[in-house]
Symmetry: C3
Subunit: 364 residues, 3 copies
């Protein structure tokens, strides 16, 4: 029962990341805070139920779906993929579209996870590949399908105000603090779990420094950009995920985090505008920079670490796991996006994007 007790405590930390962390991180939009935290609650409450069913079907016990704290943690994990994808299409989709995305994404997540963990036998304890990269590229594929040419020159509500940025920082800080629990929640008890905690802690600490440094370098007059701070400071948690329970040492973890902070900040500054204008991928929250590229970095770090013998496994299988996660994400996201594009799901018109008042009673 000690283990059970500890799992409940880890579960609570992950729960805080899902509901407070993701929910408030997305409240940065000036007129879309109700939807950010409110639809986050709706989607997550729905996703965890669907996630438990999907997971249960893969692991039937005597023909029944059994529930445990461990499975509740995994349900929160599958929920995370949906919330990452939600970030890519934030402000441009109806609740019904998002519920459809939830059903399809978690189903596809379940298939990929089974393949990666059971068939390929790959390591991904903190889920850089199967949650972060998967959720990001799934969401980006959906965003590509739902491309709105009218939003090319940015929408007046697609931005923050002073207090909405402070609400978003509640999300950032809770995600940052509890990420060690996320990356260690399904690690093997004992040394591995402890290592997952400390590796994530070091990666995140180093990531904050590089994110601040690069933000200041790329902005004029050396100023900091709140968007970078809210997001890129977390990239270290994403990128160290696959290696979290491997014996990479504090410096290994810090290098991963440091690089992730650089890549993520540069992505926000230079890549996001290009994706939007050249590829038609309008990524509202910049999930490509926080989850996509750092997730791939995490997958690659995992390949290298396994090749160096930091953990039992096969570098080839790690590579296959990364490819599988990206493949399922892009194909699954594209199909899901096409289904979401059908004209009867109540997609908001262009002028009502990023605006709570289309779905909420808002007193002005």
């Amino acid at each position: 029962t000690t283990t059970n007790v500890f799992w409940i405590s880890l579960f609570q930390d992950v729960h805080v990341m899902i509901f407070i962390g993701f929910g408030f991180l997305m409240t940065f939009l000036k007129r879309y805070g109700f939807s950010s935290v409110g639809l986050n609650l709706l989607l997550a409450a729905f996703a965890l139920q669907w996630g438990l069913i999907m997971q249960g079907l893969w692991h039937l016990e005597d023909g029944k779906i059994k529930v445990s704290i461990f499975k509740m943690i995994n349900a929160d994990f599958s929920t995370a993929t949906v919330l990452i994808s939600f970030g890519a299409v934030l402000g441009k989709t109806s609740p019904v579209q998002l519920l459809i995305m939830t059903i399809l994404e978690i189903t596809i997540f379940g298939i990929n996870e089974h393949l990666v963990a059971e068939i390929l036998g790959a390591n991904d304890v903190g889920a850089s590949m199967i949650i972060h990269a998967f959720g990001a590229y799934f969401g980006l594929a959906v965003a590509r399908m739902l491309y709105r040419p009218a939003l090319r020159n940015s929408h007046e509500n697609d931005g923050s105000v002073y207090h909405s940025d402070l609400f978003a920082m509640i999300g950032t800080v809770f995600l940052w603090m509890f990420w060690p629990s996320f990356n260690s929640a399904i690690a093997e008890s004992g040394t591995d779990q402890l290592m997952a905690v400390t590796n994530t802690y070091f990666s995140l600490a180093a990531c904050v420094l590089s994110a601040y440094a690069v933000s200041s370098l790329v902005e004029h007059k050396g100023k900091l950009d709140m968007v970078h701070i809210q997001n890129a400071t977390l990239a270290g948690g994403v990128a160290v995920g696959t290696c979290a329970d491997m014996d990479i040492g504090p410096f290994g973890a810090m290098i991963i985090g440091f690089v992730a902070g650089i890549i993520s900040t540069l992505g926000f500054k230079f890549l996001t505008p290009i994706l939007a204008s050249n590829l038609g991928i309008q990524d509202t929250c910049g999930v490509h920079n926080l989850h996509g590229m750092p997730g791939i970095l995490g997958g690659i770090a995992g390949i290298v670490a396994v090749a160096l013998g930091k953990k039992n496994g096969s570098a080839a299988m790690q590579g296959a796991a990364l490819a599988s996660s990206l493949g399922f994400a892009l194909v699954g996201g594209t199909i899901t996006g096409l289904i979401m594009k059908l004209p009867f799901w109540g997609q908001p018109p262009d002028q009502n994007c990023f605006d709570d008042s289309i779905y909420w009673e808002v007193i002005i």
Copy 2:
């Protein structure tokens, strides 16, 4: 000591519900946020001391009041009743009136709890009856005694603004996340406690879905109402309280939560206005919908579950416990309201209701 350690962790979760959860849930009022979170802190810090004394007097050890983590959890529980009642009279009472209410309500709570738990031997692990229904009807009885005819046509400050609703969502989400700890905090260690966690988790997840669905159904153009989302999504935690440690299964828990979400949302939409205009019960936070009716539903579910043999006990005693809780609440609240109505406690005049500036230095 493992149990001790786990209890400290549960205690912290309950503590977060009391101080952040209740405190921020009430910040939805546009000009009453200082009082909501500030008086919540004052009342709770006072109530937990008084609650420890009252509880200690019922359970003297060698003529002394002994303190333990278990008793600190129970003190937080008795505090919860006061904060629920606070919600009913929010904005219309002075700090002195509220301190008087705290003293009286916790004293009466102690009597009813002793009767329910020790004499009747009823089950109420998550306290649907002795905390939620008791606190709600106590507060409503007080509100009836303090009826203000001048506030019949709603007060200009009795409403929210955009950011105050986001502050309130901090409270909602923390309450939602940690409710499984609340309902399991005094359950028997082991299977019962684990069941209390998972039952509450399922009830809350189902409740979110029904609250959103009904909110959208009853508002025009299918929009969502922030008041419903802030409150009715939590009704599943209230309603599953009595049954939380009973073997009702995930589907039993989900049915309870689903029904609670419906009842609660309909209550906000249709019942609250009737209570205010016809019965003179001005329930600022709608505690009748979040704690009152779902608390009774929880009590009834407990009667049914015990009758079906889901837990040792007597359905008649469960019924008596519910009746006792309602009776003590209504009589106690009425007497307390009469005492609070005495003219020398600094009750705010009608035009200063729902306004921080009468009790706080506020810079405009």
Copy 3:
């Protein structure tokens, strides 16, 4: 491993205090919220790494720096001193100046901690002396060195608005709730640790009552001042720190907390203006009232408690520990302040103090 598991849970609570607690407590300034929570994150992420190195150098194992949850808690502790000092100079320093302060302060903290704990063998489990008094007087000495005559008549941005005060209350309440974990995190497992939890709990509860009472007494018309509530309600956690694991009983703890709440509130009302106008110490957050005087009170309480035999130790050594902490703080802070005053660290000009827009891209 049970102990390990519990330490991770205590570590998380302390982490929340450092990143959410300190970060949001300082968001009370109307135009300095990005810097408060953002620079808090930067400084803390940097400080914990530097703190681990400093601590590791004092306790090398086989010539190596080893990491453990216990050391991560201690790193958060050394970080707390920096964040306290940050409060004294908030709004008047550049990020580079603050990073220099971090390096120097943690180094000096390490020397003083080693002296107090290892050489003097003094008790200071909750660190009233070595963190709170040290951090406060270090920061005040820095503030004295950085004195700005032009800010004598208060700056237009040196104040709060309604919503910034509510953001600050997020910090206050999280600090208040998790302080028992802070004071017990490095206590001996078992009875001592449990005592540290309950003593802190009682001290904080009593402190809230005296802070509210005195705030209402000293303000006109009996109103409450948000500054007092945000800060003085926490003084009980500071003051009971040294005695937290001593057998002082609930009433002993409550007396300490009660006195701390009085001293702290009176300090904000009467002493802070005098320090600013007569001594040239401009203490933005009033850390002298929350950490300085209550920290000294805690040190004195520790001397008395040890003299009364509540814990093994020597009252003289307790007194030497207090004197050492104050001495290192004042001398170290003065030297650090002189270094920070060098003209090439980008110190903001007077008119840009308390304003995010000098270091952040801010959309008006």
